[in-house]
């Protein structure tokens, strides 16, 4: 039993799931579910279909280069079974898996950081400019928290002959 990867979406195919298609040139295509199989039959390129791992890796959404990926290679030259090595490998698998998923999470978090700052700036601008969409002007006037406090400034103006308005 071997857990294969779906050719289209790169998810793991567990036993009892999916379809395998063998082309005339002896290349084997494995699909995890009919969604991927039907997309393949429609001749869609997985690198252009947004929800696949191939697209996400290609467009930098997911982590591509990492040393933890080296551990999951398919090996064609086996080594003699050794109990200690097998035990250590099983422990290592768990650890490596945790490290890989943590790094993948950090990669996505870093990618989304710049967006957060932009979003906050936009939100502040919207609060200043578009608040009238949400609250009526009268309510705005009464509620002191939604606008800057009004400061009364005393302006002294001397009455001179020129300044007096024309009485007519």
């Amino acid at each position: 039993m071997r857990l294969e990867k779906c050719w289209f979406c790169s998810s793991t195919i567990y036993p009892g799931h999916g379809i395998q298609f063998v082309r005339n040139d002896a290349k084997i295509f494995r699909f995890c579910r009919s969604k991927c199989h039907k997309n393949f039959k429609m001749k869609r390129n997985p690198r252009k279909v947004k929800w696949t791992k191939a697209y996400r890796r290609l467009h930098g959404k997911d982590m591509t280069q990492d040393s933890t990926f080296e551990f999951e290679r398919k090996r064609n030259r086996p080594e003699r079974y050794d109990r200690n090595i097998a035990e250590n490998t099983l422990k290592a698998i768990k650890k490596i898996d945790k490290i890989r998923s943590d790094r993948a999470y950090d990669h996505i978090k870093n990618r989304l950081k710049t967006g957060k700052i932009q979003r906050q700036k936009q939100a502040r601008k919207q609060l200043e400019q578009d608040i009238h969409l949400v609250k009526a002007p009268l309510a705005l006037a009464q509620d002191s928290s939604l606008h800057l406090p009004k400061i009364t400034v005393n302006v002294s103006q001397t009455w001179t002959e020129e300044n007096q308005p024309m009485e007519e």
């Binding site: 071997r2 040139d25 002896a26 064609n76 030259r77 086996p78 003699r80 079974y81």
Partner: protein, 245 residues
């Protein structure tokens, strides 16, 4: 010494077994008779291993090997690969090959020094063969058939090829392989030599349909007939006896 046997009533013993100078692979059958026949001949000398490849019993036609290594197709499961690696001695390198032509036993015929391969084999596969098996690789056809692994069977001492091989081809192959070759049949006239028999430097196993004539041809070309005492005495008599009275 050539032995005649059957695998579950089939005379194609070369399909269900693989014999080399360092190990012997046997298919898992319903009864133990096939395995016992190999064990009785080879038990103390080389390991006899029961295995399957890709879940099938046709292991002789799927894998190719000699005393230095064993090549298995990409369809071999991880568990089978691990079983082979655990059972074989450490000098034998076990390698799984990614190759379109996955029946390696039909595509590659080899002994410990030289290998003949299918003409359409990948270049990487050819390099892997040269590296793992430690042999010189030649792309050839036999009597116009590209499946060289099926239509010829050779060891370090001699070889048997398809009966319709022309004499020029026979000479050419003989010079390439550096062993004497004979065109013959197995299992009452079958041309698929490697399917009907399996051979190494000191034993051979053939299907039970093999006639006595075919068996004697096999024993002579593969140099399996043990040196009989009478032969030595005949040669010595000439030097010992000066003249007959």
């Amino acid at each position: 010494m050539a032995t005649r046997l059957q695998f579950e009533n089939s005379c194609d013993v070369g399909v269900f077994s693989k014999l080399t100078n360092a190990y012997c692979l046997v298919a898992i059958g319903g009864s133990e008779n096939f395995y016992s026949a190999f064990e009785s001949e080879l038990a103390d000398v080389i390991p006899v291993i029961k295995t399957s490849i890709a879940g099938t019993r046709i292991i002789g036609r799927l894998c190719a090997g000699n005393k230095k290594g064993l090549l298995v197709p990409h369809t071999t499961t991880d568990q089978e690969l691990q079983h082979l690696r655990n059972s074989l001695p450490d000098q034998v390198v076990v390698q799984r090959i990614e190759e379109k032509l996955s029946a390696l036993g039909n595509c590659i015929a080899c002994n410990d020094h030289v290998a003949l391969t299918h003409t359409d084999l990948d270049r990487e596969t050819e390099e892997i063969i040269a590296d793992v098996l430690g042999v010189e690789v030649f792309r050839q056809t036999i009597a116009g058939n590209i499946l060289v692994g099926s239509y010829c069977s050779f060891s370090n001492w001699g070889g048997l090829v398809h009966s319709h091989t022309s004499i020029e081809d026979l000479d050419e192959l003989s010079t390439l392989l550096q062993v004497p070759l004979v065109a013959g049949t197995i299992n009452r006239g079958s041309d698929v030599i490697a399917a009907g028999m399996t051979v190494n430097d000191w034993t051979a196993f053939c299907g039970s349909d093999t006639t006595a004539t075919e068996l004697s041809v096999i024993e002579s070309v593969f140099k399996l007939r043990e040196a009989q005492p009478s032969a030595i005495v005949d040669e010595m008599r000439k030097s010992l006896i000066d003249s007959y009275v």
